[in-house]
Symmetry: C2
Subunit: 350 residues, 2 copies
DNA sequence: CGGGCGCATGGAAACGTTTCCATTCTTCAC
DNA sequence: GTGAAGAATGGAAACGTTTCCATGCGCCCG
């Protein structure tokens, strides 16, 4: 009696067959007005909700998509998941979610789980789309998927992203226009992230075009949050960078924090620009200059691609979303007499 | 041929019955070593993954929990979802997620969807746990659920939260100890949020205990991000507050931003303390002082309560998690000669 | 040497739907 | 009035599992 009502209960109460109940409730086939009325009344009395699991079994489709992200606590992924969510709800799909916390073991288990749940497809962001066991598995079982944020270089895989190289160029060009000549980069591990590699490539290319020498590159781990000791070695001497490009916003925030801890002012001594466009960046002081990816649209678009079968026949296709450069107080003009002013201020401050 | 393998395919390939395949793969019942070997080989050849949907239908349990949050893009919810995720993965549960974006219509649809998917229980955060149609629905169908963050006042409902009143008192006591005598509050709409009401109550009580008059209360909408015009009226005159307590961190950030826009310095002119303990608060300048809720543990605990049947017989029970006050640069001592210093600075700045 | 016991295995039902097909009944045209 | 067409409805199969029950077999013990 605590059991939830089944279609059989409804049929019994309405005095019809289960076939009729099904037809009435799904609007398929015809039925007498009074039959429809009886059925609807019975269903409502019992607060009957068709079991999607029974339905799925029969229909061999689940109307469920899987989502796999490295972390929900990074706003850029949270936002993209929200976009997927919106689009999925709109289309009547459910969303089964899993996060990996950058743990390969958890990643394969998560994929196994989603596969067992017979999701119709996946939207996911992996560390390295060129070298991913999980993606190989998906290819093997022929389950459609669309990558978000990833931009595979060698293996053709359906993905939605921004043009990371062009976007990074835009950042560097901006810095260059502001008078910066020595521009460093803080980047996620190249071996672990296709995005980081691409963004580094764009940085390097733009520097070349501008005739500037590449500044220091600091590779850091995803969850590294104390960067002061990593940056300190590069901040001595007259050749020190006046600007840093961070390969994502969390790194940019950590960088700003570290620079402050080291007694430097942002942007007076050193400018910082991030990549992602997280919203909190607007609220802080100094507000974060960043290359904005349309995160919500990224998720929504990825879902839409998936739903419209984009990755079935059209495998390996890519959608590039537009990016914009959001100005912010963390990115200012290069200091004019940088070396003196800086040294003095640091002495008085410490 | 593009079909995924079923247990029947495995049985055929191994030359045994489906019953045997099921037993071997589930480790239930006995089987000859060579039979087990054959079955495992066949399953692996076909990369067979038992369909949880077939399994669920039979077992009448889905090993799936539903999660409903107002928004995934608020870090405090994202973090709690991550905690649920962790605990669920650990326990072999899948997580079906839905977000409402503070839209009641979306909320009921989301609940309907989760119900149809036959989740075994829900962890959710609603606007007002005392007046929620969704919760009434859940009570009606007797589906176990545990609230996270919510702290219902009148209706007994299982929940995991911090003691919002005590926590708010702690904030006010801290402010009072720092010399603040006029303390305002920025709060989410009371009608829409039990948390906001509780935190307001704590604020009020603590002020009373300290013999301080209640400062201005500014009620704002959830997604209101430009607060300058709302705050401006309260920042004139000698009786203006020297500190604001914001009922959540997003509001605190918006408040700091607004104060800066109005030419005030945080914390030299006005202090601000938030509530939630979001991580980004640490990274910004000034770093955010905030009442820290253990968000991840909140999610994990809520899931655990759900799993262990907490809300079945033990309906209406509550778990209170410990909170801490995280100091931050946004909360400093009250300005000594506040009125003169402030007025002058404002004039020179604007 | 025979009876019984226990182990390995298979057959079949059940879970909650949808849907094909068959059946009954109405109705209309000739 | 008769036949056919079509509408309303019901019966039953199917989806992929798990699990109860039955069957067959080998072996041990008396």
């Amino acid at each position: 009696m605590d059991r939830v009502a089944t279609i059989r209960d409804v049929a019994a109460r309405a005095g019809v067959s289960i076939a009729t109940v099904s037809r009435v409730l799904n609007g398929s086939g015809n039925a007498t007005p009074e039959t429809m009325e009886k059925v609807r009344a019975a269903a409502s009395d019992l607060s009957f909700r068709p079991s999607t699991i029974g339905r799925n079994l029969k229909a061999a489709r689940t109307r469920t998509v899987g989502v796999l992200v490295p972390s929900l606590t990074n706003p850029v992924f949270a936002e993209s998941v929200a976009g997927i969510q919106d689009a999925a709800a709109e289309a009547g799909y459910s969303v089964l979610i899993a996060s990996t916390d950058y743990d390969p073991g958890r990643e394969v288990r998560a994929i196994e789980g989603l596969l067992s749940n017979r999701v119709e497809g996946l939207v996911l962001t992996v560390a390295d789309a060129d070298r991913s066991g999980s993606l190989d598995t998906l290819d093997e079982v022929r389950l459609p998927y669309v990558l978000a944020y990833n931009q595979p270089e060698r293996v053709p895989r359906a993905h939605v992203s921004v043009d990371n190289v062009a976007a990074s160029r835009a950042v560097v060009e901006r810095m260059s226009a502001l008078g910066h000549r020595r521009i460093g980069m803080i980047a996620g591990r190249f071996r672990q992230s296709d995005r980081s590699r691409r963004r580094h490539a764009g940085w390097l290319a733009a520097l070349g075009d501008a005739g500037l020498p590449p500044g220091p590159v600091v590779e850091v781990d995803f969850n590294e949050t104390r960067l002061a000791h990593r940056l300190a070695p590069f901040l001595e001497g007259p050749e020190r960078p006046t600007a840093f490009f961070a390969s994502n916003d969390m790194l940019a925030l950590a960088t700003i924090r570290a620079l402050r801890d080291l007694g430097l002012s942002v942007p007076d001594d050193v400018s910082v620009c991030g990549f992602d466009g997280i919203e909190v960046g607007r609220l802080m002081a100094p507000s974060l200059a960043t290359l904005v990816q349309p995160a919500r649209a990224m998720g929504a678009t990825a879902f839409e691609c998936l739903r419209t079968g984009f990755s079935g026949e059209l495998q390996g296709r890519a959608v590039m979303l537009p990016f914009t450069l959001r100005p912010g107080e963390s990115l200012g003009p290069a200091p004019s007499t940088s070396s003196q002013a800086l040294s003095e201020r640091r002495h008085t401050q410490s």
